[in-house]
Point group: C2
Chain length 367, copies 2
Amino acid sequence: MDLQYFPLPGAEIDEIDTPAIVIDLDVAEANILHLQAFGDAHGTAIRPHSKTHKSPVFARKQIEAGAIGICCAKVGEAEAMVAGGVKNILIPNQIVGATKIARLIALASEANIVVAVDDPDNVRQLSAAATRAGKEIGVIVEVNVGMNRCGTEPGEDTTALARVITDAPGLRFDGVMGYEGHTVAVRDEAERRANAGVAMSKLLEAVDNIEAAGMPVAVVSAAGSGTYNITGEMDRITDLQCGSYIFMDGDYMEVFDDFKPALTVLATVISRPTSDRAVLDTGMKAMSIDRGLPLVVGCPGAEFVKISEEHGIMAVEGEAQRLKVGDKVHLRPMHGDTTINLHTHYFGVRNGHLDSVIEIAGRGRFR
Amino acid sequence: MDLQYFPLPGAEIDEIDTPAIVIDLDVAEANILHLQAFGDAHGTAIRPHSKTHKSPVFARKQIEAGAIGICCAKVGEAEAMVAGGVKNILIPNQIVGATKIARLIALASEANIVVAVDDPDNVRQLSAAATRAGKEIGVIVEVNVGMNRCGTEPGEDTTALARVITDAPGLRFDGVMGYEGHTVAVRDEAERRANAGVAMSKLLEAVDNIEAAGMPVAVVSAAGSGTYNITGEMDRITDLQCGSYIFMDGDYMEVFDDFKPALTVLATVISRPTSDRAVLDTGMKAMSIDRGLPLVVGCPGAEFVKISEEHGIMAVEGEAQRLKVGDKVHLRPMHGDTTINLHTHYFGVRNGHLDSVIEIAGRGRFR
């Protein structure tokens, strides 16, 4: 709708109208290379999660750097990635219902599709749909490694489900996954390491049981950005599903700084009603607050103190009191993934100038 | 996208794929009529805020019921409404920056445009752009009535700004507005009434001052859904900007039940890992949590206890333990406006069947 008003490549950052997500492309690319280098050094494949960037442009950068494919949270996200040229997709979630399963199977004409399961009826539905369509998809069992969301327990249930998959026509039993999401943001590194170790021992127990039952386990997929260097060092882990590392969240920066922050939301001051208050045009419809209010970047004396749907309120003191209506400010949201989902485009910059506008093609693809 | 998978009118609600916003159209239409009847009885015009529904389809229902026009939070939202046939737009926010002002003035070819201001430089920029384009737009002063967000204080500053507008070519001084947003969700009615009274006395003080200075005040616009029957009874208030009343938020239902809830998010059970846990396919990317976790509707024994990006976790007991993978559940989000902004379409239902799919054309139009 407002595409025609986007500035041309080469424009100053402040020429970008707001609210807008600004990505420092050099930083994002360095993050991609840093994770890939870790994986290469440890013999662990990288399979980044596209739920963060939701853009085939960034997915292709990850694959060009060496990633074996990407993860997608939903079928709709996978459709956006396949349409953008990605050929190897893992959906580390359960895909339920006839409509979504039909869409999933349809994607197998264009890409290698692997999906997670934790329920035998779901396996039978996937098998029936794949068989009917004359396709084959890969299936992995999601094991509950302590996050207590989805997933089977690592004992007999997991082995039995692997057997159901192995025996199901149209399906290829590829292995297992476990997401140690309850450990990725633990602030203390030793504690994070210990907790992730406990979680991964459950996943590896499942692997041992399945292989003891005579089924080879090719894929053992796990990890978030906060455990990349813990889970990624373990012998049997085949690939890492990190997502947020590409841009780094404000929240994650409190855990570690192995990756650098690449994302800000550019906002405009729209009101200066008092000397100590500046109001921005950026509220909850352009920036998520599920992990807290954003940080104000590069504007000493300004603090983001309150948010409503379309407004952000900053308390300003000292130097920041010079802010006037029309001035622009960079905000770092605590949670990139949910903020990105609110936007249609990234404004990619290098060295302070607009490099390219990148569509967030997977935005809102939650079905 | 997944448009091709939407069910046809007449389908059962459970045939709608999830996550999906389901609107009971009879209830929404009754809410529209209820507010309009109140306005008609009290001689107060209704100017509903489209930030809630973000759809010209619902805006036209409001106008057909008698509303004098609608409010839009941003220029992008106004563009969507004008494109959908709405001819009378009030933007009760500051529009700042050359790009947005140019877009705002362009809309004046197709609709009557009124915008709020609280800064004399902003007035001069609006005037210059309107004059250059040979257009006229209406301008109102936003008065701070105690919410302490944007707005001038009701004394000399407000009167001086009214004078700047009156003297500015290309602009028509239409009046004032004040949003008593800090009072709309006060639980106790007597307290809500007292607080709204204090807030509106500031707005009316501004009106008196401006008129004493010889400038007629045609528009005195205010109110949210929670104060419709308080502010709406006051003599000098000309119109009410209520938004949420059309669907009612889970949160607002704790304040009063003058309007009935019309909106739920339909979700699917994707995992039943334990007898007391059911996992839904609906997380923060399909439902906002800025006012708390959603309520589970019509499923006794189920409580929504945890949310992540793409998952919702319910604790289930008793009858709800019968839920199985593939079953559908209705959720009532605490905050409709921020939830609607995550979706591309409404699924409008009547008597348990799909009536029509309605595009959320203003979704994400935050520039």
